[in-house]
Amino acid sequence: MSLGRLQPGPHILSDAGCFFTTLHILWSTPDRLGGGEDGFDPPALGVRRNGIRRRERAIDYNLGGAPVVVKRTNTEWLSDLRSTGAAQESALADLRSVIMSGLPYALSTWLSPSDPAFPSLAEEVAQETLLRVQSRLDTFEGRSQFTTWVNKIAVHIALSELRRRRWKDVSLEGMMEEGEGHLAGLPVDPAPDPAAAAERSDLLAQIDRLMRDELTDRQRRALEAVAVRRLPMEEVARRMGTNRNALYKLIHDARLRLKRRMAEEGLMPGEVLAAFED
């Protein structure tokens, strides 16, 4: 890959009335990057990798509006990105534009584009995505649009980072902290009548017993954190010293065991759910 200064190609056109400005970004050689398939386990953004050279380069980026990007087929994207010189650089610039223009939509429920943190996050996500794409071009199977594959990677990097930032100061103990107090007086089981309330209480007790008897402490903790509390898998995994994939397997084993034991005891999930219908 050329590490020279990027020149704006003729394909990068500003919208009328918009201005170009030059942003300096860090560029790293795309070798020795970690992660699984498609880079599933990303390092935190901004983490400097050992032995990776980071070089400063400048690109022209139109802040006033998204640049027009040349349409390419999947084959053309791959060909241009694997080439050298101007073709590769224009493809990288276009791909970066695709990512940057899509991130406001992707992150709309997480971070407003007007948030001061948005520009730097988007910049880091785009940079990291381009690195990962370049290092994993051979894993693209051509079964989707190339830009969808790239955007998938960008989304994964962005949300991983946002989750990490949101939970960075919270320990697993903090996430799972046991509260004090009582439910006395609270409508624990708002069943429509006493008989239904008694049935629900009995079902809850049976499920509780199965969870205590059948699951390991680790399974129960993971199930409580992710399945019930809906804490982010990646952050729970990080704090439990594992990864998201392994945590999913742990929880799947727990769900499967509970399902089998419930069936053995005649507790059919559909019937249990029906008992809790209002």
């Binding site: 998204a66 223009s101 955007n151 998938k152 989304v155 007790a205 409580e224």
Partner: protein
């Protein structure tokens, strides 16, 4: 048999913790939490895709959905995973928003 109070204590801890984080558990009654848990158990299959396996297929799944294909029939295990895994579901929804934004602004892709 473990007493009901033990389970209620567990639910109470979940119930109270929910006030502090993104989880909707804090707004849910113990019955809601029980429903959520049992629903997940009901959906559990002997063989499920992991997060990494779903991630590898997520772009195909999203493109197929955008084309109007019947993704439930084409990729039932991906769909099943997305119904259970909140993290993957968040990423899928974000990807869909990206694709829909792209469709609304075709000059950007």
């Amino acid at each position: 048999m473990t007493s009901l109070s033990g389970f209620l204590d567990w639910l109470r801890r979940i119930f109270r913790r929910g006030d502090k984080d993104r989880s909707s558990a804090g707004e849910a009654s113990p019955a809601d939490i029980a429903r959520r848990l049992v629903e997940m158990i009901r959906q559990t299959q002997p063989e499920e895709f992991t997060c990494e396996e779903v991630f590898a297929l997520l772009d195909q799944f999203a493109d197929a959905l955008e084309r109007g294909d019947d993704v439930s029939a084409l990729m039932p295990m991906v769909r099943g995973h997305l119904e259970i895994c909140a993290d993957c579901k968040e990423e899928f929804e974000a990807l869909l928003r990206m694709l829909q934004g792209r469709a609304a602004n075709p000059q950007r892709s």
